[in-house]
Amino acid sequence: LLSAGIALPLFFALGLAGLAVGLGLHFSSGTIRELELDYTGAPRSNHDCARCTNASATSGPCLCTLRFELAEPFPGPVCLYYQLSNYYQNHRRYGVSRDDLQLSGDPWGLRVANSLFNDTFTLHRLVNGSFMPVPLDSRGISWWTDSNVKFRNPELVNGSLATAFWGTAKPPNWPCAAYLLDAGNPNNTGFVNEDFIVWMRTAALPTFRKLYRRVHQGNFSAGLPHGTYRLDINYSYPVLPFKGTKKVILSTVSWMGGKNPFLGIAYLVFGSACILTGFVMLAVHIKYQQQNQMDED
């Protein structure tokens, strides 16, 4: 592998490949539309949500709204994410507080993670002067294996989930008991609630996004057209104590997922470095080959 006959072509070939992949990634990343909306409501920001920051969980939900313009259409499917920062979901103490036995259906001694993200969002589009709700699909936002294998509700007792959960305490920060998470939909309540499952798939890094809803239904199956939108936020999740931020993100997706500037640039750098090294190696090779030949002569 280290002979000149292999190493030099290898470097040039890898360099070119790296450049090609890099360009591809860079451009496909560039085509992705993404909109970030910060709604933390930090003190002294004149954000509508700032008034909700002091509301405690017990005082009931606090509603705030955000208006924004889409200058150009977002082709579907459009995903709605929430993003938290400075939030250490990867902290070991956070990790060990979950009990996977419970999540697969054993309710006794329940101590479910207390910190389920419980802000909720609804999206409206200004059509002809009035705000039309944009349908948000909450199905299929979690991995199939999570919602079908890993997370199971306890056996129904007398056909009622509530009875099955009987004797368990509501997590103190939750507005409602686990079995009421999506009370109307028996397939999405309790532990198999997809929002809960998404939350429980802990993030790798302290700044993370989690999928909230998808827009791919009704009038919006082709995406979000340009125009004015209003986001209604049911604000109840406190992040200011640990200096965190909350954002809502609208994004389109491509073959390689969402916007990811890093990988494209990294490949471009890698490709050019390879080619550069290839030239250095070539020069050294030629120089020392001549020298060796002279030595032999």
């Binding site: 790296g18 990867n90 507080s97 207390n114 294996t145 890094l205 999928l211 997922g257 990988l263």
Partner: protein, 1259 residues
């Protein structure tokens, strides 16, 4: 050049004899290994008067030492030894007999104790113990950061593999013990001899041993089938000497204890010294029938000897089992470790310190983070109000657990597996198999292989190691005419290599190869009577014993040289047939004649000659003499016409490194003989100084001799010795020859194996002593002015880079190294009188110690400047001492190679001991680390196996440290993004299996199979070996390079996925930037990177390498998909929590792009750097590798050069062909061995003679 040295030498010789007292004697061995201080005193020729006085004072104040004979053995009385006074308390109350049973036990475990003892043994190793502690830490809920199985699974695997290896070893030991313990011999029980197993023999038992059987215990010889109860034994197992020794019983036991019934009634009591390890000493008394008889070592048969030439013998067991001398002698086997081993240990300690530092740093980080962020993160509240410092403290232990994989648990077991494999390669190497003796090379120790690639000094025995210990008659000079070259019947030189046909001689043994047909012609025609006279002398003048077995004549000679000469005479038609006390029968060209032997003037090291006086059938009395040329020439008759011609022949022989002897004779008139015989009889009964008196008398008759000719004997070197030595020298390995042989012989062998050449300047003991003296004075002066006493001078002893060699005798060694004085000091220091005196003595002793150390260091420095060093006349203990000196002052890796029991000590002392196997004695082999049949295999062992092992081990270690760092430090980088919370960057199962399954096999295979250049090229370019000696491939620098490489890899493995995960989502919008996907991404990148890295490191690609690398990767993905499957989660929900992660994450193309990028960024810089360094600074092996094809073509055309025989112009004096042992003359003269008394036996002997003759005639 050489002549001057030679002259100096001869001058010195005369000086030596003249001034015996002040100079060490080159001829005698120094003291025996275990001589007591008393014995030393009596031998000490001259001590300074002051020291004498101190010694005397010391002796006076000492209590008289009483030789106590507390060891009592009663024959045929087992109850006697059970008496309470012979019990000793072992444990608190447990009484045990002080007499050991005869069963030997070398095994360590039995089925019940195996598990606990083996586990205990294993947990004594620091690494295993460390992991046990980790396991315990993991059981503490507050700090456990990894699941228990992450440590337990690898630990069980490691313990299991080691336990299996120990089990196999122990089973082998059990089997060997059983084999020995179940051998049988006849023991008297209930008044009859009964077949009894060895293990059931007890002290006091009376045994009967048959011919060719081993002696089961140390036995007092009572009687035997031979006259005078003589018994011949072969002691090869004990001391490596193959010639027979004889033992003789007391006359009283010989007379009364022949019958079974008498033996059964025997109730003698033996009182003797306690068991000890001195093979040649025994003192005791036999009390029987109210008489006591003194016993000495001549009456004791030692365990391990073999009965020879004796139909049967009887004896009573004195020491059994562990008390026997051979067992006492086996000594403590030193536990040898390699240099890499200790280096590795230090590195593990370094890593351990690093681990603690990292953990402490991260713990501090965690404390700080908790204060800043953690405390305000309400979602992290776990109900425990620990303070941040306390959390930091807990996290310290948490990180110790998480980062524990930096200290590689599987390192030690992998290293052992690799060494075991390499040992098998050595065992299987057909090129080190010696077909003639059917011995393969064997790695007896499996833990030292890579050390074979780092040898600096080789200490070699001579006899049996460099030489075959086979003497063959090569050439002769008769009446000034040289014989022995290639010639036809008419004396014309010939090139054909047709051997001489000895079939005309029915006694010829057919083993002699001789090419001078002219000599045969001369003998058979009888034209030159001197030729016949010459061989007649060889047949008559010796002390060889003859034995007839299966119609064959067997000669037993005290030295192999003499055996060679008598055998040569036999082949040339002058056959020594038999001898009695005073006759000798010889077949002269088929005619049998018997001569009266009037006297045998035996050989000793001063006389360097032996003579016989015989009366021929016609009444003439003649003296035949053979001896070293120097002594013979002094005693020749002034008018000897062939004197000069013979001298020239002697010089020629010496140039060909043959060992020579001069033969001469002299007629004695009857009157002269009568007169001499009277003096001789007087001298032989003299009570004081008998030996000197006899020498004096011998001197009188051995003069005015008539020179007959000279013989030349080849001390046959083993095959390929000079080539091997020159190869090893090119590999910068220094070879020291340590031999018990005489200076002349050793020098001779030095020349013949090309250690010494004509250009070599030889320094002898005197020169060394003088040089060292000046050096020491210089150092003292400098120390005085400098006040820094222990300063070391580094300037060389010799100015020019000339070719020098050192030849030094054991006595000089002692003198130079101040060994004797040390013993004296010890003695006198025992009795200090006053405190002041005590202080003074301590001061003097300290000064002496410093002095001695300085002197020893200087000597080693000097010796190491010489190209070759030969130490002759050294005892086994000195051999070990020399090795120890070089080990101590040069810090170099040493190898000792030898074949005999006298090499055992040195073999055990050196870093690596090699035994030459296939010889009779097994002692050296038993205590060696490696054994093979021939010296020449040493070059393959070192230059091929040793070098490969070293390269492999270094590569293995470098990679191993690298891969563990690359693996573990990812956790470290990750902690900056998870609040220093000891969160792992991988799944627990991955951590468990990484070292065991995903990354172990390829590196193991590299450790087993890798080679930079082929074996042929390794042998062709010995210079490649030097990198091992200089520790170039694995040292602290390389370790840190591996470390940094590992750190960089871990950085890449962490930060490229980190960048990719900063802002991303999946193809279908799901956000796979979750922790579990991240863990899979980093783990996959890591497995690919380290496996391809080992691919880059592999220089010798085979199918298995490729298979193992891709196999490991496939295994990783296979196992990961299984562990992440739904099924296993349903079965064990709490242990397998990564359900679905692998399939979900790895279907994202951008994660694959991330993995590919990380792997490429890890590997390509390595490729580039290696390419550049190989092009710019190619190493020796790189160059050879590059030209591999060219060399291959060359090798096909290349033929080994015929070893050019140098014929120098030197007048080097040859050695003379006697070993330093005495002959059998005393035995012959005493008549005890001769079958004279028993007429029937003589008849049997006669019959067998007739048989031989018949057989020869019919064939």
């Amino acid at each position: 050049m050489y002549q001057t040295a030679g002259k100096m030498n001869s001058e010195r010789d005369s000086e030596t004899t003249f001034d015996e007292d002040s100079q060490p004697n080159d001829e005698v061995m120094p003291y025996s290994d275990d001589e007591t201080e008393d014995e030393l005193d009596s031998q000490q020729p001259a001590v300074e008067p002051e020291q004498n006085r101190i010694n005397r004072e010391a002796e006076e104040s000492r209590e008289p030492v009483k030789k106590d004979c507390s060891w009592q053995v009663k024959a045929n009385d087992r109850n006697f030894h059970e008496q309470p006074q012979f019990q000793k308390t072992t444990f608190l109350c447990c009484n045990k007999s002080k007499y050991a049973g005869n069963a030997i036990k070398t095994y360590k475990y039995n089925p019940i104790t195996f598990l606990p003892l083996n586990l205990l043994e294993q947990f004594k190793r620091a690494a295993n113990f460390y992991f046990l502690i980790l396991l315990i830490l993991q059981a503490i809920p507050q700090i456990t950061t990894l699941s228990w199985y992450t440590t337990l699974v690898p630990l069980l695997l490691v313990l299991g593999i080691t336990a299996i290896k120990d089990l196999v070893d122990d089973v082998a030991r059990h089997r060997m013990d059983n084999e020995v313990n179940n051998r049988t011999c006849d023991v008297i029980k209930e008044a009859r001899f009964k077949d009894t197993k060895w293990k059931d023999i007890k002290v006091g038992d009376v045994l009967r041993l048959k011919k060719n059987s081993f002696v089961p215990a140390d036995i007092l010889l009572l009687s035997s089938s031979e006259p005078n109860s003589l018994c011949y034994v072969e002691t090869a197992e004990l001391d490596g000497e193959t010639n027979l020794k004889f033992k003789m019983s007391l006359e009283v036991t010989d007379r009364y204890l022949q019958e079974e019934s008498a033996l059964a009634r025997f109730d003698g009591l033996i009182e003797c010294e306690e068991p000890n390890n001195r093979l040649d000493k025994f003192t005791g008394t036999l009390v029987w029938r109210n008489m006591s008889y003194p016993l000495d070592a001549d009456k004791i048969l030692l365990r391990g000897c073999k009965i020879r030439n004796t139909d049967y013998c009887h004896g009573v067991v004195v020491f059994a089992g562990a008390d026997t001398k051979i067992m006492k002698n086996s000594g403590k086997t030193r536990f040898k470790r390699t240099k890499i081993d200790s280096l590795m240990n230090y590195m593990v300690y370094t890593i351990f310190v690093l681990l603690i530092l990292l953990s402490a740093g991260l713990a501090i980080g965690h404390t700080y983070w908790e204060q800043q962020i953690g405390n305000s993160s309400w979602y992290l509240y776990d109900g425990q109000n620990y303070s941040p410092p306390y959390r930091g403290f807990l996290n310290f232990w948490g990180y110790i657990i998480v980062l524990n994989t930096m200290v590689p648990i599987s390192l030690y077991v992998s290293v052992e597996v690799i060494r075991l494999g390499q040992s098998y390669f050595i065992n299987w190497d057909l090129q080190m198999y010696y077909p003639e003796k059917d011995t393969a090379a064997k790695a007896r120790t499996t833990t030292l292989n890579e050390q074979l690639g780092q040898i600096h000094y080789i200490f070699s025995d001579k006899t049996g190691t460099l030489t075959q210990n086979i003497m063959t008659f090569k050439k002769c000079c008769i009446n000034g005419q040289m014989y022995g070259d290639y010639r036809d019947e008419s004396g014309q030189p010939q090139h054909c290599t047709e051997q001489v046909d000895f079939s005309w001689n029915m006694y010829a043994d057919g083993k002699l190869s001789f090419y001078d047909h002219y000599l045969i012609e001369q003998i058979r025609s009888g034209k030159d009577p001197e030729v016949r006279q010459f061989f007649f002398l060889l047949a008559i003048c010796h002390t060889v014993m003859v034995e007839v077995s299966n119609g064959e004549l067997n000669y037993q000679a005290a030295s192999p040289d003499e055996g060679a000469l008598v055998t040569a005479a036999r082949n040339f038609g002058f056959v020594f047939l038999s001898r009695t006390q005073n006759t000798i029968t010889i077949s002269e060209m088929g005619i049998e004649r018997t001569y009266d032997v009037l006297a045998i003037l035996d050989f000793n090291s001063d006389r360097k000659r032996m003579s016989v006086i015989v009366r021929e059938p016609d009444g003439r009395i003649r003296l035949y003499c053979k001896g070293a040329d120097t002594v013979i020439y002094e005693r020749l008759h002034p008018r000897n016409p062939k004197r000069h011609a013979t001298q020239e022949a002697l010089d020629t022989f010496a140039n060909e490194t043959l060992r020579t002897l001069c033969l001469c004779y002299k007629d004695i008139s009857y009157r002269e003989y009568e007169a001499w015989n009277k003096k001789f009889t007087e001298a032989s009964v003299a009570t004081t100084n008998r030996d000197e008196a006899l020498d004096q008398v011998y001197e009188e008759i051995e003069k005015n001799l008539i020179l007959l000719g000279a013989t030349a004997i080849e001390d046959k070197l083993q095959d390929g010795v000079p080539e091997t030595i020159s190869k090893l020298a090119k590999a910068d390995i220094k070879i020291w020859v340590l031999t018990g042989d005489k200076k002349e012989t050793a020098e001779n062998i030095g020349f013949s194996c090309e250690l010494l050449t004509e250009e070599t300047t030889i320094c002898y003991g005197e020169d060394v002593s003088a040089l060292l003296q000046t050096r020491l004075e210089n150092q003292r002066n400098r120390a005085g002015s400098n006040t820094q006493s222990s300063q070391r001078t580094t300037e060389p002893f010799f100015q020019s880079g000339r070719n020098r060699a050192l030849i030094i005798t054991g006595s000089w060694l002692n003198e130079i190294l101040l060994e004797k004085k040390k013993k004296k000091k010890k003695l006198k220091l025992k009795f200090p009188k006053t405190a002041e005196e005590k202080q003074m003595r301590i001061e003097t002793r300290r000064r002496a110690e410093v002095n001695k150390e300085q002197q020893q260091r200087n000597f080693v420095d000097l010796a190491c400047e010489c190209r070759a060093v030969i130490c002759c006349r050294v005892t086994p203990k000195q051999k070990a001492m020399v090795v120890e000196l070089v080990k101590k002052y040069k810090k170099a890796i040493t190898l000792a190679i030898g074949d005999g029991a006298n090499d055992v000590n040195m073999i055990k002392t050196a870093h690596i001991g090699v035994g030459i196997s296939g010889q009779e004695g097994m002692q050296a082999v038993m205590s060696s680390d490696y054994s093979f049949g021939q010296f020449r295999y040493l070059q393959r062992l070192l230059l091929v196996h040793g070098r490969w092992s070293y390269i492999r081990m270094c590569k293995f270690l470098r990679y191993f440290f690298y891969k563990n760092f690359a693996f573990t430090l990812v956790h470290f980088w990750y902690s900056f993004f998870n609040g220093y919370s000891a969160q792992t960057a991988y799944e627990d199962w991955f951590i468990t299996l990484y070292n065991v399954l995903y990354s172990s096999l390829p590196v193991l295979l590299v450790g087993l199979l890798d080679q930079d250049v082929s074996d042929k090229l390794s042998l062709r370019f010995p210079g490649l070996y030097i990198s091992g000696q200089k520790d170039l491939l694995f040292n602290y620098k390389k370790f840190f390079v591996s470390l940094i490489h590992g750190i960089i890899t871990s950085l890449i493995i962490f930060f490229i996925p980190y960048g990719a995960y900063l802002q991303t989502m999946g193809q279908d919008g799901e956000a796979p930037s979750d922790y579990q996907s991240f863990a899979v991404t980093t783990a996959s990148s890591l497995v690919l990177a380290v496996n391809f890295q080992i691919g880059l490191d592999t220089s010798y690609w085979t199918f298995v390498n490729a298979f193992s690398i891709f196999g490991s990767i496939a295994l990783y993905f296979g196992i990961m998909f299984d562990l992440h499957s739904a099924g296993i989660h349903v079965l064990f929900p709490s242990s397998f929590q990564f359900t679905g992660t692998a399939p979900n994450a790895l279907r994202q193309p951008y994660l694959w792009l991330t993995i590919i990028l990380s792997v490429a960024v890890c590997l390509l810089p390595v490729v580039a750097l290696r390419f550049l360094s190989m092009t710019i600074w190619p190493s020796e092996s790189d160059k050879i590798q590059k030209n591999r094809k060219k060399y291959k073509i060359e090798a096909e055309q290349w033929k080994p050069r015929p070893s050019a025989f140098r014929r120098g112009i030197s007048g080097r004096r040859s050695a003379y062909a006697f070993s330093h042992q005495r002959g059998y003359a005393d035995l012959i003269a005493s008549g005890r061995s001769i079958r004279k008394k028993r007429a029937p036996l003589d008849a049997v002997l006669g019959n067998s003679m007739a048989e031989i003759r018949q057989a020869a005639e019919t064939s």
